[in-house]
Symmetry: C2
């Protein structure tokens, strides 16, 4: 009997060690998992029988215990199917379907006391997610990660839209090249930044967008980055393999783990239609539902702010030109305010008036608090206290004034990367916000991190960013974190994370300019993980009009600036230019006033990374639609298929478009506004200038 | 006219560049400052014409700006004399005289835009203090320290009482040797510790106590260690020069400075009478007066606690034997308590009863809060929350019980070195203390520091320790920080710092034992900077009586344990043994009950480092005196000169002494108690056993 049973088990073992195959609900995607002769876990992925990922190894190399890399045998596997529809607090669509087939493979290492881990694969119609899970067991509790050995072995020398891999910044211009050209183009791609640490001549960031010669669009990123270090990729340009490369900590380790635990999900979104990449909700679906019971205080925000005038150099954050200040020792009231200091009460009231008049939700003010004279690059620990205003900024008066105008104040917490200092002041800073009428905060981490040796994207700081978000939630505060780690869909779980920067934003239009194709790429890369506070709406494209010494110009037409409110999805949208400029273009400004921030549905009408994007969206709970179209440095004729409209009804659409002679270099501000009639059968041909665009509102 | 003026200046320059000499008020000490041919600042020090410090360089080597090491010329100098008497909140004497002659030399570097610094020397009758000051100036704001180049060039191959230099621990046994023997004895001296990082085969810690062949006692340490990294010394054993060696941070730098600023004081206490070293208040005098307006809440504390039973292995901190727990996820109420878990309500009540019965101020309880199962050595970030008790520890019930017995509870905050986690919970933790009747906290930093790469004694953590102290003061909480940086007299400024460990405490008597001469050295080394929570009073010298598996024994007689309450000055004193043991020796225990914690005056009657100490003290505001005498491994006959008593009056003294046949190895518990009459003319000869001692109370 025992013998028979053993034989059965052995037979079963043989069967179990065979490859496991998983198919997407629509059967277009197929994932295969197996173990090599040496017990190394490998997977491969195909889309409509085209290879997306060739056989690629999986595993975790460790510092202090035997590695999870080889010597595995199959312990068991479980299949599961999941299909639910959920509603985000805010988003591109009211209902999100989460539908996947799952394979959870548990593999064990006989030579390590049968220690086992589970690799969980979820295959959606739009791609694959997988992660490593470490169940607690007698010989697996704590361990330290040396490197994650996940591979993405590509099927060819794809065209890639890439940023240099960096532990501290993503504020690079995207390079579009063949993967084989990465190495030769790396040096030029690594432009200076306030804090940066590259790691390899073939290091790349995620989300990494690629297109294969046979027409597959492939996007690699991660989901649910919690208590782990951020994933980068190192390209083996001989074999065209992307190898996981985690952000190290101050002593070179890459993760401190306590079972039971798991890694973030590694995601591969894939389609033969670029529009599917933009429509994908795979990353959100791989995050957990929100942990907050009450989300009524979380609302999209349209705002203006005392900001662009500093970015251009017209105004200053600092109160004066001291080169060194010590908080608590300096008495600013005994120093003279610079005439360039913008965050003064009267000037802020002008912004409040403007915001109120035009129906904005909030006014951001930067440079309001003590410490801006020497905040950057000094490795200064106690750099801000987040509660002490400059003498010319009347917190209480502005609180009352804003309230009387039905406008919220938006707080600014620049930390200068001094994370300990921020945490020490965080409770006071958030309480100060509550006390003074601020319900959202733009936080910043410009410069090298303190504690020194840590990077922006390491486990230590990722833990900090989430700490800041969850603590903000205790105060019902929404967070827009700049220079924080790139988003990975965490806003599903923590919906008060309403924005991030984590890429080259509009500010660079004042620092020499963004490429004309920049915003045709960002939705395929940076936005895959969550919304960006891109701060569009710059109408004065010649920066020298604000600051004669600044020769930068905005590398778009004015109409394209409008289109970005639709093509760059975010629940947080700024009208970033100065009121004085908007007052000269109130007709075009009307679109920014009208455009919605939250949506019942979105329709990706046209898309090709690096070339063009056309998107239509239906405002949440309203019969209003907004369309945005953009192009790269080439003129283009877009086609807007209005079939998303209710059938059998005619609507009036206002079209904001490039004038015929518009050109992003020679004539960027030339726009036209026209009214047209549209129905669900309309297919509008709409021209765009070089780096141009158009916006349409239908009410 | 201009020419004449220039000539005058040149002449003045010649005069200024001559050496500057400073003398102590009693003229015994003489300090000489000069600049070498290369403009390197140097100093030398003599005591009664004997060389203490030979010509030694001064300077600071920097990372990012030109170093402050050479090319200096004299800019100006200022002399000053200071003499005041001040009253500490608590201390060895009611009045402390602060009397010094000061020389502030300002030197400039012509090649660095005339950048200047000031070196300030204060020469007291008992030694020298000096520091570097960096006034703010147009070309000196921020800088990073690579190394401090302060030298202490010794006049000979002194006998030294030394610990291996280490960035993380001082819990080593003191080695007594010639300086020339340091190198050969280093390996054996570096015994294992929970966290340790040595830096050199001739690295030494401060306070470093030395004795020259010609009879000078020399002690090198620092005062007012604030926002700077801790000083160690690297011995050049060819030239007998001690070179400053600062604790680095995670990236190897040694200090981040913002002018105007200064270093801590470097101190050299010197005398030809060892008693003067113990009597010195030089380090306190170099600290600033207290910053607290209200100090009424700061009081000396005599306490018992649920502690020694865990140290011996009789009991446990942990609730059970889980190997991995996650706070917030584990429900301890569903796990079984270990019978060894000592911090349970009933047992704590026994300690409260005992404390109340015998007039103790407080009861310490360790292991009361969730997380002790896996607290150590896991590099665990969220290791404790400092507010959640184990299910068997009734916080509210014990609050009420302790209050009804007129006893305070003493909190325990073990951080496991996870400093960020402690800071995140600090406000809640302190408020919890206020809410539950705790007014003092024993904090701990066992294990490697988080943020990883930082050391216990670096600037980052020194900043943290002071943050914890000042924040505690906001809640009127007294702090006793273990494994924190060694004290440097900061308790003058922050008198709620009532104790530190920062050395090998009594706990090591349960971990193999302390040397018989240990406590005859500590007052000359560790105690120079401030009081130690040494936790004496162990009557059961055989640890196996508590834990059969523990073969350690206490390396003193019982009588010596009593003497330590006088010889080891501290406003915080524990009766560390178990109530069950004290109940068997209530006659000897009476001394611990009687002994004062705060003093009008102290009299160092006899002292030789490594050999013996006899000290008498007068209780603050009372006509009570207490005497303690201890010896090393050798028997000794002490002489107690009672001339400190008021003249013309006879007092009854109770003498607690080693019995004739006492011996710290073979018969440590043999003591006698006798009453004698004494007057100010009495000179008592009192014998001590090997590693023995005696205590005397006069009421």
């Amino acid at each position: 009997m025992t013998k028979l049973f053993t034989s059965l088990l052995l037979l079963l073992g043989v069967i179990l060690s065979q490859a496991q195959t998983l198919q997407s609900p629509d059967k277009n995607l197929s994932m295969n998992f197996s173990l090599t002769q040496n017990g190394v876990p490998v997977y491969e992925l195909t889309y409509k029988n085209k290879t997306v990922i060739k056989s690629s190894t999986l595993g975790i190399e460790t510092v202090d215990v035997p590695s999870f890399t080889e010597g595995f045998s199959l312990k068991d596997f479980k299949n599961n199917t999941f299909d639910e529809t959920w509603q985000p607090v805010w988003g591109e669509q009211k209902n999100i379907r989460n539908n996947y087939n799952e394979l959870a493979v548990t593999i064990q290492q006989k030579s390590v006391n049968n220690r086992f881990i589970t690799i969980r694969f979820r295959l959606f119609n739009d791609g694959l997610g997988f992660r490593y899970e470490f169940p607690e067991q007698s010989n697996l509790t704590y361990f330290i990660i040396k490197e994650e050995k996940t591979q993405f072995a590509l099927a060819g020398n794809h065209k890639a839209f890439w940023l240099p891999g960096d532990f501290d910044t993503q504020e690079y211009s995207t390079v579009t090249s063949k993967l084989s050209e990465v190495r030769s183009k790396m040096d030029a791609a690594v432009t200076p930044n306030a804090s940066q640490q590259t790691f390899s001549p073939t290091g790349l960031q995620t989300p990494l967008m690629m297109k294969s010669d046979d027409g597959l669009y492939i996007n690699i990123h991660e989901a649910a980055l919690i208590d782990y270090s951020c994933l980068s990729l190192e390209l083996d340009d001989d074999k065209m393999i992307l190898n996981a490369f985690l952000t190290p900590d101050a002593v070179g380790n890459k993760g401190y783990m306590q079972a039971s635990t798991q890694t973030p999900w590694r995601t591969i979104v894939v389609s033969d239609d670029a529009r599917d990449i933009l429509a994908s909700k795979l990353i959100l679906n791989l995050n957990e539902p929100t942990k907050y019971e009450d989300v009524s205080w979380i609302k999209p925000v349209k705002y203006v702010g005392v900001w662009w005038e500093m970015i251009t150099g017209k105004s200053s954050w600092a109160y004066n030109d001291l080169t060194s200040v010590k908080l608590g020792e300096i008495d600013y009231s005994k120093t003279k305010a610079s005439p360039k200091h913008a965050a003064n009460t009267n000037h802020v009231k002008e912004y409040i008036d403007f915001a109120s008049k035009h129906g904005f939700d909030a006014v951001l003010v930067e440079g309001w608090n003590e410490g801006w004279e020497d905040w950057f690059g000094k490795s200064k620990d106690y750099v801000f206290d987040f509660v002490t205003p400059y003498p010319d900024f009347d917190v209480k008066g502005l609180k009352e004034y804003a309230a009387s105008k039905n406008v919220k104040m938006m707080m600014h917490h620049e930390t200068s990367g001094s994370a300990r200092n921020y945490e020490r002041h965080m409770d006071n800073a958030y309480q100060f916000m509550v006390d003074n009428g601020y319900n959202s905060v733009k936080s910043g981490y410009v410069g090298d991190i303190l504690p020194r040796g840590e990077y922006h994207y390491g486990q230590w700081m990722n833990n900090h960013y989430l700490y800041a978000i969850t603590k903000a939630a205790e105060y019902k505060i929404m967070v827009n974190a700049h220079e924080a780690v790139r988003p990975t869909g965490l806003s599903r779980t923590y919906p008060n994370l309403i924005g991030n920067e984590s890429a080259r934003g509009t500010e660079y239009e004042s620092f020499g300019g963004n490429n004309a194709d920049h915003t045709t790429i960002l939705p395929f890369t940076r936005l895959m993980g969550g919304p960006m506070d891109y701060t569009p709406g710059i109408f004065q494209t010649q920066i020298k009009e604000y600051n004669p010494e600044n020769t930068s110009f905005v590398h778009t037409t004015l109409a394209k600036q409008l289109a970005l409110y639709v093509t760059m999805y975010s629940p947080l949208q700024m009208a970033a230019d100065l009121p004085e400029t908007y007052n000269k273009h109130l007709d075009a400004f009307q679109f920014i006033k009208d455009v919605a921030l939250d949506w019942d549905d979105s329709y990706i009408l046209e898309a090709e990374p690096g070339d063009y994007i056309t998107i239509a969206r239906k405002a949440k709970g309203k019969n209003e639609w907004f369309v945005g179209g953009i192009t790269d440095e080439n003129k283009r004729m877009a086609t807007v298929d209005f079939s998303f409209l209710p059938k059998g009804k005619t609507f009036e659409a206002i079209v904001y478009a490039d004038a015929k002679d518009a050109d992003y270099i020679t004539n960027p501000q030339a726009y036209i506004i026209k009214k047209i009639k549209v129905t669900s059968k309309t297919k509008l041909k709409q021209s765009m200038a070089t780096s141009g665009g158009f916006a349409i509102s239908i009410k």
